[in-house]
Amino acid sequence: MGAYAYRAPTNVEEALSTLAAEAAAGNRAQMLAGGTDVMVQMRSIDKGPRTFVDVKHVAEANELHIGDDEVFIGAGIASAVLNENDELKRILPGLIESADLIGSTQIQGRATIGGNLCNSSPAGDTIPALIACGAVCVIASPGGNREVPTEDFVTGVGTNVLESTEFLIGLRIPRPKGRSSDAYLRFIPRTEMDIAVCGAGVALTLDDAGICMAAKVSIGAVAITALVVPDAAAALVGTAVDDEALAAAADASSALAKPITDKRGTVEYRRKVVGVLTKRAGAIARDRALAL
């Protein structure tokens, strides 16, 4: 019978040695970011003892860096902090709105994008948005940092590529250049604070004539993990992202979706709605890019 413990390492090296020591002692270690999922799970479906390793004091996981070529968002940074950053909202509006959709003011004050990703729910709202904008997961590992594209991070319902001696430091996102923007939409039956029936993230780049040069589309809550939709992106590239192209992208998302029927919606409904969201998110991303 193990016990609960709490550690607050202040840098990556210390955090890795904490995880290694816990693993060597046969203890379960769990990284703690905002805690808004972990605390609820600890009282319901997952009550076992463990050592919490708080990522919020790890210096590298608290960095928020907006560079010329890249944006880095540390795994310990609360959503409310991101949402109060006007530059970040301007550069990556879709990603920030996906984080802002999650939970109440109180939840926003603690919850993190990194935590949402590591919780690895099929309905995690930031995951399709991260995939669309090309985010790469920076993972601290005993052999040195390793990087994994967001679309390869989640492996199943609540599971991901992290080993017990590893943790997510943060996300590296290529800074959108020129007329590039993104958007994320989800459908819920109320106005806020609910779990996605389905969601869609679109990031795209337009040339000076308004023709789409590059696009990435990802959909959520319609399979065990968020999916990349290459055919939807292909339907947008080379077009002015007009109604016809958006309709083709919508069809591609609907075709790729493999949803289940549950209390939030049926297979048929989710398949239909995820197409609609793809179309609408694409139009929003286009209009944002045109306005730049």
Binding site: A3, Y6, T36, M39, P49, F52, T105, Q106
Partner: protein, 159 residues
Amino acid sequence: MSKQHVSTTINGDEVEFLCEPHQSLLEVLRDELGLTGTKEGCATGDCGACSVMIDGRLVCSCLMLGVEAQGVEVTTIEGIAGADGLHVIQQKYLEHAALQCGICTPGFIVATKALLDRNPDPDETTIRYWLAGNLCRCTGYDKIVRAVQDAAQNLAYEA
């Protein structure tokens, strides 16, 4: 596992306490420190009854470990009123009858304080969205919104 020692600041006072590593801040406030003004509603972050501020930011104390309070500034409902009486926000909740059973009220008042500290002149939509994480099963919310609007006007007048 032995209890962990935590040094923190609560409502301006330096406080030290011992707690189990898995105890929530809410449990520590109520059961270890006797600060029972903060209420437990759902204990899953849905109702906002346990709202407190951590370094000025509104959070659910049920979703935070007590040990995470190390080195931060905690503001609870007990820290809202001044030495000379109720805070304007509390006074306006009373005047507008913005409470009935009262269980949600401490959380609403702390959430209102966090809002008005940040945005002294919020419109009704902003107020309703900001307070959407605080559930009240008695009032129907309208009286709460009026109390917040009136408090904002009074605070602006005083400033």
